[in-house]
């Protein structure tokens, strides 16, 4: 049965996608768009639909148009639904957000910590909800998924935690960067005690996150065949740099991993675990953090990267404030615009020009309520 859309429906759909597109423009494109709109209203250009204005924006900024986009959802920390329904509803909301994107992203990336305590029911609930995504799913492991059964259930559901793939000329690498040295055997911990220890962000009994020698070797070999100007994006749960050790916002062998990535013209690292707006650049490596759907973390009291413009302190009276999902727009040069779709707030875009200019251009707005 063919579906016929009325003129009114088509008009409203065009209008919807135009306004949604406006949200994600960087400043230069926005000026072009508003300029074109002014011209149209002044009668200098023929206004017949919303199409020309969008085209006008694209025409002048051809070099900054993203080559493709993917969406992300991360850090849902699910309990079973009858224990805690709030986190489940958070993930459902994120899935709805992504499914409502038009056009659909090329794929959806899940940043880790699907379960809260790594339990079978938690992972299965998460897997079930993620099956509702229209776009293909690429998933990564977090420490909360792993340390109850050392990844047994997660691997049953999703296979190998470390892998790579190519998409439209960009090489993607997915790491398991939450490898911890054994701290549980000497203390005679049960699996649940080990999981509870790792689950506590401020629990000092656990070891720092690492990528580990085996994976570093694998990474070296996987990237070996690529030229220095290849476009590389690394997905990692821990940040792959050293931000704040007491909260394991930290990768202990970050220096070794960064050394492997050093030869490339630029590398983008997208990481979970931090549940906040987080931006950093170390030489050629551009780091972007992901939002969580469950709860926001406060900013670390020390070690914060200079390039990060913090999100305003989440309001506990505003449910889900500080949480969200988002998109990544990958440009032809391999750099990305990171869109933070903060729930109950205006979205924030950290554009590639901001990082490329070391924070001089396209600076995101500063918060008036910092965390302290």
């Amino acid at each position: 049965m063919t579906i016929f859309k009325s003129i009114e429906t088509k008009y409203m759909e065009e209008r919807e996608s135009f306004f949604r597109g406006l949200q994600n423009l960087d400043r230069r494109s926005f000026l072009k768009v508003s300029g074109a709109a002014l011209a149209a209203t002044a009668g200098l250009a023929a206004p017949h639909s919303f199409q020309p204005v969008t085209v006008a924006a694209d025409a002048g900024a051809a070099e900054s148009k993203p080559a493709f986009r993917f969406a992300y959802i991360s850090d849902s920390h699910l309990y079973e639904r009858d224990v805690n329904d709030r986190f489940v509803r958070g993930l459902l909301r994120a899935v709805d957000d992504v499914n409502n994107l038009d056009p659909q992203p090329d794929f959806v990336f899940y940043g880790g910590d699907l379960a809260q305590l790594g339990q079978v029911k938690e992972l299965e609930t998460g897997a079930q909800i993620l099956k509702n995504l229209k776009a293909p799913l690429r998933i990564m492991v977090g420490e909360h998924d792993w340390y109850l059964d050392m990844g047994q259930k997660w691997q049953e559901l999703y296979g190998e935690p470390t892998y790579s793939f190519d998409h439209k000329g960009v090489h993607f690498v997915v790491l398991n960067s939450v490898v911890e040295e054994d701290f549980w055997t000497a203390r005679g911990m049960t699996p649940m005690e080990r999981m509870m220890t790792v689950a506590g962000l401020d629990n000092g009994l656990q070891s720092p996150f690492t990528v580990g020698e085996a994976q570093r070797k694998w990474l070296q070999e996987d990237l070996a065949k690529l030229p220095d100007d290849a476009r590389v994006i690394v997905f990692s749960h821990s940040p792959l740099y050293k931000l704040y050790k007491p909260w394991n916002f930290w990768t202990d062998d970050a220096d070794e991993v960064q050394a492997i990535l050093k030869r490339f013209k630029q590398v983008v690292v997208i990481h979970g675990h931090t549940h906040q707006l987080l931006t950093n650049r170390i030489d050629n490596i551009y780091f972007h953090g992901l939002l969580g759907t469950a709860w926001p973390w406060p900013y670390a009291p020390e070690g914060m990267p200079e390039l990060t413009i913090e999100m305003s302190r989440p309001d506990p009276f505003n449910p889900n404030d500080g949480c969200g999902d988002g998109e990544v727009h990958v440009h032809p040069d391999g750099l990305v615009d990171k869109v933070y779709n903060l729930w109950n707030r205006n979205p924030v875009t950290v554009s590639r020009t901001y990082l490329a200019s070391w924070g001089k251009q396209d600076v995101p707005p500063k918060p008036n309520r910092p965390s302290y």
């Binding site: 805690n84 401020d202 629990n203 909260w247 709860w295 302190r313 989440p314 309001d315 965390s371």
Partner: protein, 265 residues
């Protein structure tokens, strides 16, 4: 308070020592008075001065021959090579090989006591897990000041240590509750450290302040109570109850050194 009170026998070594004294009396094995092992955790919780004194008072056993002269119960259980001893907590028993004596015997009895009382070293565990900020250093008060005749001129080192230990213990109790969804009464398995690791972003120094979302001036405990009822989804806390007091203590302890700034948003 000058004399150590037996209330602090939560400390492993003191408890162990009393345990063995009782075992000696009850079990009728007077020889079994080996000093218990000094575990690494013990010095924090037990008063330091009595421990060495009591250890010295006990006769150390001669090497290895005491096990065979155990209580008469072992004669009735002559077929097995073990002996059952009553634990000093008055509830549990410990079964040990008959020929065990001296330090290994003491270790075996201590291990069983620890298994029966896993919460015994909870203060040390909290400090190890959650990096508690220690209370202020009061050793300046020992310098004499306005003479020994004055009421407050007579502090001893034991006083200073006791105050520090008790204060830390109170904050540690707060830390324990802060990090435990069950202790908070959460119905959705949410604990405070999920949004406030190490009590970050609680800014207790800004209270009292007008909390616009509540429409009134709030104290720290009002905000704690609101958080318990809403994000944590537990029941209202009695503001003067032990749970609220402990939580406040921990939150304020973690913020040591930050200037007071009431009304700041």
């Amino acid at each position: 308070m000058r004399n150590p009170s037996l209330r602090y026998c939560a400390g492993a070594s003191l408890a162990g020592m009393i345990c063995f004294l009782l075992v000696a009396l009850i079990g009728g094995c007077a020889e079994q008075v080996a000093p218990p092992p000094q575990t690494a955790s013990a010095p924090v919780e037990s008063p330091p001065s009595p421990a060495p004194a009591e250890a010295e008072a006990q006769p150390s056993p001669a090497a290895g021959q005491t096990a065979t002269e155990t209580s008469t119960t072992s004669d009735t259980a002559a077929a097995s090579e073990t002996v059952t001893v009553g634990s000093c907590d008055g509830e549990n028993t410990v079964t040990v090989p008959k020929e065990l004596s001296g330090q290994p015997l003491a270790d075996a009895l201590m291990d069983q006591w620890k298994r029966d009382h896993p919460e015994a070293n909870w203060v040390t565990e909290q400090k190890e897990k959650h990096a508690l900020v220690p209370p202020a250093d009061n050793s300046d008060l020992l310098k004499g000041g306005q003479g020994k005749d004055h009421t407050y001129g007579n502090y001893t080192e034991l006083d200073i240590l006791t105050w520090a230990r008790e204060t830390e213990k109170f904050a540690a109790e707060g830390s324990r509750i802060f990090h435990s969804a069950d202790a908070l009464g959460s119905t959705i398995a949410v604990s405070c450290d999920m949004c406030h690791p190490h009590a970050a972003n609680t800014h207790p120094e800004t209270y009292p302040k007008f909390q616009p979302q509540l429409g009134r001036v709030a104290l720290l405990r009002d905000m704690i109570d609101w958080c318990i009822e809403n994000p944590v989804r537990g029941e209202h806390l009695d503001p003067n109850g032990p749970t609220m007091r402990a939580l406040e203590a921990y939150i304020m302890a973690q913020r040591k050194g930050v200037p007071m700034n009431y009304g700041k948003h």
